[in-house]
Symmetry: D3
Subunit: 78 residues, 6 copies
């Protein structure tokens, strides 16, 4: 029973229910294809983390995104 935990910094445009369903289906299929796991045995959990609570290179993602939006049209930092 593989357990897959996906952790994402929440984006300005939230991850949609459809995208989450695609991630769940895609990861489950990958477990089946590579490790012959029964799909019904695969558990996937997606954690969406507040960008203020996610740090990269010593800064919160909120600061990184602000700087990026100021310098460019902005875009996902990840």
């Amino acid at each position: 029973m593989p357990l897959i935990n996906i952790r994402l910094a929440r984006r300005d445009v939230p991850t949609s229910a459809q995208q989450k369903a695609q991630l769940i289906a895609g990861v489950t299929e990958l477990m089946h294809k590579v490790l012959a796991k029964r799909p019904e045995s695969v558990v996937v959990i997606i954690d969406e983390v507040d960008p203020e609570n996610w740090g990269e290179g010593g800064e919160p993602v909120t600061a990184i995104r602000k700087r990026r939006q100021a310098s460019t049209s902005g875009g996902g930092c990840e």
Copy 2:
């Protein structure tokens, strides 16, 4: 100092404060009984996950519950 993390898909009827207290007390007692751990050294964290973010068998729990409620009187899928 054992650390116990309990992850649950949030249900339509939320887990009550009392149930959480029972889980915390029960797990702590189990650590004491089986491993002779001092109760004050046991830490329990309960994570409640949005059913849209929890996948089983390639589908989000939201889809599983919808299908289940359509076919029966419904009930916790877990």
Copy 3:
């Protein structure tokens, strides 16, 4: 920067380096395809857990596998 943690009960035939590389590549590609994540920003960690330390339905996987091998030609329980 999505973080994906894959937890597996170690099997009698260990997961090969090649299979792990396929899981890493497959999950990274999925993040790119579904969420437009830059591949170089995706981190994947695979944890292989001793079957004695993994419980399902109230029993360690070791006990489940032993019973299964006794009753059939045996096969991955997951």
Copy 4:
């Protein structure tokens, strides 16, 4: 690429954005100082947990804090 996950029981006075930024900066610097990690490779995630979902010594933190506030001027239990 070190991954550091900080889990905190949410306090009555929430942890400020500034404090989180200090934690992210401080942990990143520590990784650089002790393990010579490149700061841009360090990822920090802060999880704030509802005190009702956090147990110590067999009780939820909410109960511990209530008892503490009743007996003293109160203060962080952690």
Copy 5:
């Protein structure tokens, strides 16, 4: 499908297979009793951590145990 992760600092006398089975059975029963979870849906993972890798009060457990053994007949620090 509740997921329970138990993290323990490995002790000088390792946790036995039997104790792990008791923890798995006990936690599964607790989920059924408190939350009416189907036992077959409960997954338990036990992580045993090297005491050198586990810190409490700013010190590795190895240092804490050494000091404790020097001052007393010694005993589990947790």
Copy 6:
């Protein structure tokens, strides 16, 4: 009681007991300084992950290090 989990890809030159003690002490002091946490309430767990089990940019760290060592005198990829 803050819980800090540090996850590292195991390096060719293993992280020493002394470095781990420095990480534990440093993180504990940071919690005290920024959040006024009592040091004795801080728990730190360090997980060292096999580089074959750690993927970045779609590749296992083992492959990244091999390529890096071939092209340069080599050095920590993180």
